[in-house]
């Protein structure tokens, strides 16, 4: 596929971006402070993030904004729900009582309460939020490239020995590379990092094979794999050779194994993230971006599609896990001095109907949703935008999927106007609309 850089910055935000780079520059320098360095050194060899990276927590199903970050205690009873707001460590900002750990790190979070779009279907809404493009038909795969694939294509991994784009614990159905080509699909361990014997699928040597035997095989392969490499016209043979070299290097050197080795984390830290798939995926994501992966999307737990029994589901299962995982991730990144390099974002495909249904549930609602940002050198400790008294629609600063995702691309230094060509040779920019959210950047 070709691609084409139409312009490197937009004139609309020229002034802003210059200021931004100066600011990021100084903060990034702060990220290399002695305290941060010592923290990293103490971990024994965890290499620092040289470049920016993203951890996206994908709350598949559609998290209930009105029960989490945008509570409306004075709304009519059929709207407001059971939960009460609590104060956070930032004066004036209140969030759900079932997010107490996040309330204590609110100064490290920013909540956009005024995100919205118009598609209430899981498939299409998910594609919109994961790619920035609203698809026209509901199909199995994302039609436009997922953000992680775009990052893999335009930025690559921070450490070339590691994959650029990882999904945890499984590959997302709608997280693929589409017309960028399968080479930019996500890499996934396909196993739950909370399991005792967790390992990446096919990264550890198979049971009957040890390093010596693999060595023998590779040497035999070297002797018998004699087909000429110029038999095809697309260089697919050489491309495959390159992936063989990288793949077998990953198996034999311990860099990737170490990056994925969640067992080497101390037990108290693992507890702090929560001993469940979401918590441990967040911890693993931190290890991966530290080692040089540039984009991690986490879809763990699931169950946010609370059509029935919304409040019980949230307070008993969903919120405690998510509260703990995100709070631990943000504080851990901060303690390691990585908060300026690593952007964390959490959202789903839409919010949920503020009006409670007859089954004590809430249904699909794209009219308003809350998006959480942390790190990435953004301006944190704030909420952005407001919804109306029933949390149904934004009444100020309405932000689109393109606004949300261009903020992320902005942090990574990726021009979201960059143009790719799809199979019909249509020039398609990274995002069809949107600009970085000015309150954040």
């Amino acid at each position: 596929m070709f691609d084409l850089l139409l312009h490197s910055t937009t004139s609309a935000c020229d002034g802003l971006s210059r200021r931004h780079f100066i600011r990021v520059g100084s903060l990034a320098f702060g990220g290399w402070s002695l305290a941060g360095w010592c923290a990293r050194s103490a971990q024994g060899g965890a290499s620092p993030v040289r470049n920016k990276a993203v951890i996206q927590i994908w709350l598949a199903g559609g998290p209930s904004h009105i029960d989490m970050y945008d509570l409306k205690p004075s709304a009519p009873t059929e709207y407001r729900g059971e939960f009460r707001p609590i104060a956070t460590n930032v004066g004036g900002i209140e969030i759900s009582e079932h997010l107490p750990l996040q309330a204590r790190v609110m100064d490290k979070l920013a909540i956009v309460r005024s995100a919205w779009h118009t598609n209430a279907g899981h498939g299409m809404g998910s594609q919109w939020m994961l790619t920035g493009w609203q698809p026209t038909i509901e199909v199995n795969n994302n039609i436009y490239p997922a953000c992680g694939s775009v990052v893999a294509r335009l930025k690559g991994a921070n450490d070339p020995e590691l994959p650029a784009y990882v999904n945890l614990p499984h590959a997302l159905g709608l997280g693929k590379a589409a017309y960028l080509g399968a080479s930019y699909n996500p890499f996934a361990p396909e196993n739950d990092p909370n399991q005792d014997g967790f390992q990446v699928r096919n990264l550890k040597l198979p049971g009957r094979v040890d390093l010596g035997r693999l060595g023998n095989r590779r040497s035999l392969l070297g002797q018998l794999d004699t087909l000429r490499r110029d038999l095809d016209t697309r260089r697919d043979m050489q491309e495959l050779d390159r992936f063989y070299a990288q793949g077998l290097e990953m198996v034999t050197s311990d860099k990737a194994l170490r990056a994925f080795d969640i067992h080497s984390e101390a037990a108290p830290l693992r507890e702090r993230y929560g001993r469940n798939d979401l918590g441990q995926s967040c911890l693993l994501a931190r290890r991966l971006v530290e080692a040089g992966v540039s984009y991690v999307t986490i879809q763990a737990g699931g169950g946010w599609d609370t059509h029935g029994d919304n409040f019980k589901q949230l307070k008993d299962h969903l919120l405690p896990k998510f509260d703990r995982a995100l709070a631990a991730l943000v504080s851990d990144l901060a303690e390691r001095g990585l908060l300026n390099d690593v952007l964390v974002m959490a959202f789903g495909e839409f919010g949920r109907t503020p009006r409670i249904n007859s089954g004590a549930g809430r249904d699909h609602w794209p009219g308003a949703m809350s998006v959480v940002f942390a790190g990435g050198g953004l301006r944190l400790g704030q909420t952005i935008g407001e919804t109306d008294s029933k949390a149904e629609y934004p009444i100020s600063k309405p932000y689109t999927p393109g606004d949300i995702l261009s903020t992320m691309y902005h942090v990574l230094g990726i021009d979201h106007h960059h143009v790719f060509y799809d199979p019909a040779q249509r020039p398609l920019p990274v995002l069809p609309e949107g600009n970085p959210i000015p309150e954040l950047v």
Partner: protein
């Protein structure tokens, strides 16, 4: 490096000699006379000597320099009214043309539609990456590629409080100051102040910035000169583009058209229409586009000296003969025929979607009859594997999915396709069964094709029909004129018009579909504001009674012998299946600006397809029994740059389903798929919903699009880890009932084991060195069984295994 340098020196010497010693070759100059009627008229002169373009090497002298001027590129511009002569000289030869310039003082109005819009296109202002995209750019939006002049006129003249175009102070108009970079512009500086386009914009604003009168003539077609050129390396060619208008007038638009090359390694083109041959050999198509019209120039860079004969290649039929004709012209020599083992593996993969068995291989290699390759093709075409494999192929691009409750219908549709192919149903009837499907899915399973488009049915079905059965990518024209074709919205909505009366009941998944008496869609043709009305792509507008199903008329039209798309689209798709790329590449992107690499073969196969009354098997047999299909994939120096003319076979990776089956067949194992019989192979799966990490890792299509390109050949890390380092493959290799287990149990000799593994994986006997290497490995190993497993692992991880070559 050195030969190139030597060659260059030789050329320079030759050029110097020819300039000094050779008698002057005659100059061929066009046009024969020059007439420039207004200040913005330009005329590109083309000069040719001894078959080569020398436009930029010639000297130009205008007898009366107050009348006109010529620059070094041969572009003539008017200065003042008068008649004079232009003398062109090159070497010792010269030619003189009459040159007349009309009354320039009578300032003529610049026409927005015919003169301003082309500039907005030429300088990229209205492209999809800039102001042409649906959301515009910084509040300024133009219609994509200028298809809506009224809209654009409003945007320029009436929006932004008149700042974009200021008639009172024309030079302060943002249109000029932004485009010339005097005011910061996100798109940068696009035109030079004072340049020709700048002058045209200025003149238009100065004269009142009016919109075009409704009767303004539009461009009917454009012509590009010359049409084709055979290039030595580094040679160049100036093009000339002329626009012909609906009022019969014509105009040189060489400097207003925009240009693109489809193969930059062969030839590049600049903004002035100047083509330069590059290092690569082959054929490049240079497209010129102006006001929605396109024309092409073929730049041919031969691979070697033209050949009069190719004695080493004996054509077996028309395909071979036509391919060889092309090779002679290009100086291409084909690789030799591949050996029997390679051919057996290649044909079995392409026709049956599997590897040959060990027994088949032994028999085929032992067979000494001369026609055994042809008989192999016939045997494979008669085997049940052919319909099974081609059912997979069609099922994927017909997007036969189990989504939206269609699990059972997907099985039924898959089986229906397989049955159609097994019975070798005429292709037009096969297509009728899909395009005109009606009824309940149990009787007409092809309605799943409609059901899988339910979210955007009219548009998806329209675009899919064009792409699948006509080889036309028409979807661009839903919203705007196709940028590389003559198709516009009228054509798109004309095709859509055949699908507007499709009704569906409100029960069932899929529900029953029927032909309704009235329009059932709420979609409108934006040009008319009414529901789309049927119109064939060649312009006829049929009418239908409420009882008639327009879709049948559409299929009738497709199957007409004079339909230029239907037969060609099919034979090209089949060609792509067997040769890796189509005669037109991509296989479903047939358009004037994307010409076939060998038009004669395409025509021949299309005629054969028509003549045989759409016999699919006949076309496949013609292709698969050609010598062309038997060529080795190993390049020889004379064809190593060939990637268009099939002078060698182009190797490609096995597709996901075939690769998984190949692994299983080689290991003597089977993969299990839930709810499928134990004997079902991956190629037999009727829809995309059968969980398989292997298939997903090798990018099994999710049946999202109609495009064969949904299968990406791209390699990934996960693929390598799966093949080289997984329990999944390890378990197959060491399976207790697998090939190795059976060989061990039978106490086969080491030699026999090596031989069988080679036959199973590569469909050939091992060579002597391979026997030695493998034998040494096995005999020196402590654990013999593990060593045999290592050998099988090795074979599975070679390119010879994963590629069809």
């Amino acid at each position: 490096m050195r030969p190139a340098k030597e060659w260059l020196i030789r050329c320079l010497v030759a050029a110097a000699l020819s300039a000094v010693l050779l008698p002057a070759a005659e100059l061929r100059v066009s046009p024969k006379q020059l007439e420039l009627r207004d200040p913005f008229a330009r005329q590109q002169v083309l000069v040719e000597s001894a078959g080569a373009d020398v436009t930029r090497q010639s000297r130009y002298v205008v007898a009366d320099p107050t009348v006109a001027a010529v620059d070094e590129t041969g572009l003539v511009r008017p200065i003042s009214r008068g008649n004079t002569q232009l003398t062109i000289s090159y070497g010792d030869a010269s030619a003189t043309l009459m040159l007349s310039v009309g009354d320039l003082a009578a300032e003529r109005e610049v026409n927005f539609k015919t003169e301003i819009e082309p500039l907005l296109t030429r300088y990229g202002c209205n492209s999809g990456g800039c102001h042409g995209k649906a959301s515009g750019q910084n509040g300024f939006r133009l219609s994509l590629f200028g298809f809506d002049p009224d809209f654009d006129h409003d945007a320029l003249v009436h929006e932004a409080r008149g700042r974009r175009v200021n008639v009172a102070a024309p030079e302060t108009s943002l249109l000029l100051t932004k485009a010339s970079g005097r005011v910061p512009h996100g798109g940068g500086k696009r035109i030079e102040p004072g340049s020709d386009p700048w002058q045209v914009l200025l003149a238009w604003i100065r004269s009142g910035a009016r919109r075009a009168a409704p009767e303004t003539p539009s461009v009917e077609r454009i012509e590009i000169e010359p049409a084709e050129r055979l290039f030595p390396p580094q040679a160049s060619q100036q093009l000339r583009v002329t626009a012909f208008y609906t009022d019969g007038s014509q105009r040189d638009v060489t400097r207003q058209a925009d240009y693109a090359s489809n193969l930059d390694v062969v030839a590049t083109v600049d903004a002035e229409g100047f083509v330069t041959a590059q290092g690569g050999s082959g054929e490049a198509t240079i497209m010129a586009r102006y006001m929605g019209q396109v024309a092409v120039f073929r730049a041919i860079r031969p691979h070697g000296q033209p050949l009069t004969e190719i004695p080493e290649f004996e054509p077996a039929g028309e395909i071979d003969r036509l391919a060889a004709e092309k090779w002679k012209k290009l100086g291409l020599r084909p690789s030799p025929l591949c050996d029997d083992a390679t051919f057996l593996r290649r044909a079995t993969i392409d026709l049956a979607g599997r590897l040959p068995t060990v027994e088949e291989t032994r028999q085929f290699l032992a067979d000494e009859t001369p026609d055994k390759r042809v008989r192999l093709i016939d045997r494979l075409l008669d085997s049940p594997d052919y319909p099974s494999y081609f059912a997979l192929k069609w099922s994927v691009i017909l997007r036969n999915s189990r989504l939206a409750g269609a699990e059972q219908a997907a099985y039924a549709f898959h089986n229906w396709i397989r049955d159609q192919i097994a019975r070798n149903r005429p292709y037009d009837e096969f297509v009728r069964g899909i395009v005109a499907a009606a009824g309940e899915w149990q009787d007409a399973p092809a309605i799943n094709w409609y059901w899988q488009s339910r979210d955007d049915q009219l548009h998806t079905v329209t675009a899919d029909t064009a792409q699948l059965f006509l080889g036309l990518r028409l979807q661009c024209a839903r919203c705007h004129h196709h940028p590389y074709e003559r198709w516009g919205q009228a054509d798109y909505y004309g095709l859509a018009g055949f699908f507007t009366r499709l009704g569906r009941k409100s029960f069932g998944e899929p529900p029953p579909y029927f032909n309704a008496a009235n329009v059932t869609t709420g979609e409108r043709n934006p040009l008319t504001g009414r529901p789309p009305e049927p119109r064939f792509l060649d312009g006829e507008t049929p009418t239908f009674t409420p009882e008639q199903d327009p879709r049948h008329a559409l299929v009738d039209w497709m199957a007409r012998p004079d339909n230029p798309y239907f037969a060609r689209a099919f034979v090209n798709r089949m060609w792509g299946h067997f040769f890796g790329i189509g005669l037109v590449h991509e296989v479903d992107d047939m358009r004037g600006t994307n010409p076939p690499s060998n038009p004669a073969i395409l025509d021949y196969l299309a005629q054969e397809f028509l003549r045989s009354k759409f016999d699919m098997r006949h076309v496949i047999r013609l292709i698969a029994t050609s010598r062309l299909y038997q060529l080795s994939a190993e390049p020889r120096p004379e064809n190593e740059q060939d990637r268009q003319n099939f002078a060698r076979f182009y190797a490609r990776r096995l597709i996901a389903e075939v690769l998984l089956d190949a692994v299983d067949q080689t290991c003597g194992t089977r993969s299990q798929f839930s709810n499928m019989s134990a004997t079902a192979r991956a190629v037999d799966l009727p829809h995309e919903g059968f969980g398989s990490y292997f298939l997903d890792t090798f990018d099994r299509p999710q049946r999202v699009t109609v495009c064969e390109c949904e299968r990406s050949p791209g390699a990934t890390l996960a693929q390598v880890l799966l093949l080289a380092n997984s329990d999944e493959i390890e378990n197959k290799i060491a399976d207790g009932n697998g090939r190795i287990a059976r060989l061990m149990q039978a106490q086969a000799s080491l030699e026999a084991m090596v031989e069988e593994l080679y036959l199973a994986a590569f469909s050939r006997y091992p060579t002597e060195p391979e026997r030695r290497t493998a034998g040494d490995y096995l005999t020196s190993a402590e654990d013999r069984r593990r060593a045999v497993e290592d050998l099988l692992w090795t074979l599975l991880n070679t390119r010879e295994f994963t590629f069809n070559h």
